[in-house]
Symmetry: C2
Amino acid sequence: MCFRGFVLVLGEQREAVRLFNNPGAQECADVIMSAASKRRAVIVLGVCEVSYRGRTSSELARGERLVIVKEDGSLLVHRTWGYKPVNYMPPGAMVYAKSDSGSVVISAKRGSESMRVVFHKVYLAATLNFRDDSSFEQKGTEAQMRDAVVFYPELVEKGLRVLTHEFQVKSGFVDLMALDSRGRLVAIEFKANPAKTADVNQLIAYVSRLRALSKERGIRGVLAAPSINKAARKLLVDSGLEFKRLDKDECLRVLEEFKPTMSLLSFIEKGDEHSA
Amino acid sequence: MCFRGFVLVLGEQREAVRLFNNPGAQECADVIMSAASKRRAVIVLGVCEVSYRGRTSSELARGERLVIVKEDGSLLVHRTWGYKPVNYMPPGAMVYAKSDSGSVVISAKRGSESMRVVFHKVYLAATLNFRDDSSFEQKGTEAQMRDAVVFYPELVEKGLRVLTHEFQVKSGFVDLMALDSRGRLVAIEFKANPAKTADVNQLIAYVSRLRALSKERGIRGVLAAPSINKAARKLLVDSGLEFKRLDKDECLRVLEEFKPTMSLLSFIEKGDEHSA
DNA sequence: CGTGCCAGGTGCCAT
DNA sequence: ATGGCACTTGGCACG
């Protein structure tokens, strides 16, 4: 079956989806422009080719793909495999569509970047009038690990006292600065994922900066993560730094326990925030 | 208009898209399972909620969204805005769909990760029987900048001789090792984007390793990038390292010029590849 | 706006 | 499989 110009409206209470089956080039371009003006998303299924100029440049020859034009101006070209779009424009692009000798040309511009999708054949276009104001809640991030240690420093070691977070040195920001039970400064870098060599390099850069600032004072560097790979641990130890295993779930438990009783700010603000 | 169970087949020569308007829960689940068994992608438009457990955990409450089940097992939940899917499973997941008291439940598992999408209402499902074997060609990457310098070292400086690439030290891999006209070793780190502090830190780590290996020999460190931000340049200079502006287009021109006449390998293989 | 840095990063390629 | 690293990284927070 092949219907040209057949339009379906879906959604029981409200027109949530408007379908255009086998639209002509001009109709499809109109659909996209009309949706853009109403800040609605459009999906297009069909045969297209794509070119991109900007941070790099790329060419994608003819093939059947799914294109999504979103209400914020982002534009995604998806193949039938892979997590990532093969081509895209990030949010904020200006998207135009026009008919050109039987093809639909979608162009998107954003600063010095531009993308052009040419559809030789459109099987289906659909405009989405969607409602979606639900919040997205996530648990188990690095920031939460750090917060847990702020609340309960013993997660790292006994007698630790937190001084400040995001302490600035030339090479960047130290996640957490603390004092150990013997009065030594401790720079702590958190990683939510297994620590790699690059993470150790980051800590090395920070600690060497801190040592340059305070030559007489002993400064410890601690990498706190769920685990660490072998090469990274070797580099860490060779550089005189330490690893502390930090369990994500345990951090979450601590957060759950402390959150009702204390505010994070009251802890954080105790630390002096100077810049180095 | 609201059609239940109305099926359209789109594509003139071949059934490229099969549409299911307002499918029932069981029908929709069947469509997804059937597509999965044939390694075909499916898109689903409707009202859903999503939960994820794995590297972190997340909850996304009810809302209207676009879900893509791809032929490689990847699963994307897209809202009508934003470049990224709000929830997803990477390629390789096992995807199942079933009907459960009027809802469609899509679950995906991959190692210790799992995701669950519950559709309370499906406006549209579509199976994609797409052909797309075009290659994706990209120009202007960091690797190409490095190749250009291998062909024509003068892009960095006169008299430079390339020794080897991806030279391994404990902190990682040095993009390119070379000798300058005065016989000093030069470690070169390429960046396709404006260089940041983190990039300087990377070079610092490499050069300090190289200096530890060869204390008597003078070792230069060069960061080659289209540009460098202010803080990064300061850190670079303070660390006794150098910046070399490298224009992407010029690198591409050099590549275009040299590619016909010489093979990259003949250059690369001249260098000795030892490990440090 | 630039700068820094995390991300459920993903993807590619090396050992 | 693990590791190292680029990516049109995207995204957020902060000065």
